[in-house]
Symmetry: C2
Subunit: 215 residues, 2 copies
DNA sequence: CCGCCCTTGTGAAAGGTTTCACAAACCAAG
DNA sequence: CTTGGTTTGTGAAACCTTTCACAAGGGCGG
């Protein structure tokens, strides 16, 4: 049980949890590994293996208790609490995030927002006062934000990430298309839209090459 | 040479290309696999293996010609052309995308935008007229968009994706937090911010558990 | 209590990706 | 032309993830 868990396992656990919450809302009491597998495109064996890293949650012959597994997965993923986010860069993507109800609904609350633009500092965006960068360190210490969000231009993203880390966040979500290197064990996830589009570009070109010539 | 190429390889090729373009701009002529590896956190062997799936691009003893490899990777990834995107859902995230210069700069042009909101239809966002959904099929046929972008509420995302597919797009980029299943070989990439945050939540909780108890 | 059906949990096998390590190739200098 | 220093391209090994397949356990009807 429980050694190092792969990213793909954790990803799938989140997807299982999503489905379980839907089932819970629908009043379903038990679910089997194969039902759980379907929406994420996994196999039933994979579901069972993923869960087995953390313990034994099912009843043989019956499946898993929906309520029980929801609680267990929330515990495993750290979602039985809520997390506070500090946003840096209230531009196009930063504003979209501030207005996104889907975050708070899942326990991720943006509690502070920062920018360098004098025209924005002091104004309110979705109920949150935009603060100057100079307040970043004390404000994060004060409000206890655990996750920093980088939504600044690419050129300053690395510096902003380093500053967030110094301010004491435990993890960083980055929207700039640049690979930020983790230091001090603070994990960083980058949402890189251009990379996704280039992946699609590859697949479409590949399909064209296969169909187009010979094949 | 060239069988089925893994997603992670394609991902890294994009990152190599990014660095190569920087080097090109800086006037560098040759680059070694180890220099190329650094920014993406790969190893030099990995760089060479990744490239070897597609051919032999380097000169032993010298490294890779920056210009030559840029051309080769653009060809492989399908980036020696530009791609047309059709956006469905001009809300918070859709508007952010429309205003994002980083897409056009890398050869991804949003050429059509659609919504169901009567108040938005007919108005212009970043120079593009917002069209009613009823025009989706003919408009995509006419302008020849290859990639559909789903930026609608989650509840309608699957239906919108299906409609885009019927309209003839070759790939879909989805921002709704839902796993859409590929049909007809049209690849789908989902950008799921909540999933990324939950991954970070897991890592932070895990770190806490390791530090907190015993360890 | 027994026997049947169902589903889990899990070693073992298969499949895939990354790293290792070295011969082959190239350049420059003498 | 030969030698030495450097870096590629690539099989083989190591490592990691997924799938297979089945014994073990649980519920239920009789
Ligand atoms: N807009 C999008 O849809 C989109 C999509 C994908 C990725 N991105 C990436 O997200 C990042 C932000 O993009 P955007 O479109 O929101 O840009 P934007 O220009 O609209 O916003 C950037 C904000 O960051 C602020 N800023 C600049 N330097 C700063 C600093 N040193 N410290 C703090 N704040 C600073 C600016 O004042 C501005 O408010 C970019 O890296 C971009 O590549 C954007
Ligand atoms: N806002 C964010 O920062 C953010 C972040 C991550 C994910 N998302 C996801 O992106 C999606 C859009 O989010 P948003 O915040 O932009 O929402 P939004 O409500 O601001 O925008 C949604 C848009 O879609 C349009 N729409 C609704 N039904 C439609 C249909 N059937 N066909 C075409 N258009 C339709 C609406 O009129 C609206 O303009 C959601 O699935 C959300 O979960 C948003």
């Amino acid at each position: 049980m429980s050694g190092r868990i792969s990213d793909s396992t954790v990803r799938r656990l989140s997807l299982y949890l999503r489905m379980l919450r839907d089932l819970e809302r629908a009043g379903v009491e038990f679910v089997s590994s194969s039902q759980l597998a379907e929406p994420s495109g996994a196999t039933s064996a994979q579901v069972r293996k993923d869960l087995s890293h953390f313990g034994s949650f099912g009843k043989r012959g019956r499946g898993y208790s929906v309520d029980g597994l929801v609680r267990a997965l929330e515990e495993i993923l750290g979602l039985s609490r809520s997390w506070r986010l500090a946003l840096v860069g209230v531009g196009k993507i930063g504003s979209a995030l501030l207005g996104y109800g889907g975050l708070a609904a899942r326990g991720f609350d943006v509690v502070a927002a920062f920018d360098v633009d004098e025209a924005k500092i002091g104004t309110r965006a979705h109920g949150l006062r935009i603060r100057p960068m100079r307040e970043l360190r004390p404000a994060i210490a004060e409000c206890g934000a655990e996750i920093g969000v980088v939504a600044t231009p690419t050129e300053v993203a690395a510096e902003v990430a380093a500053e967030l880390e110094r301010a004491g966040v435990g993890a960083i979500l980055n929207f700039a298309p640049i690979e930020l290197s983790e230091v001090n064990g603070v994990p960083i996830r980058t949402v890189d839209i251009v990379l996704e589009l280039e992946g699609l570009s590859y697949l479409m070109s590949e399909a064209g090459r296969r169909t187009g010539s010979d094949g």
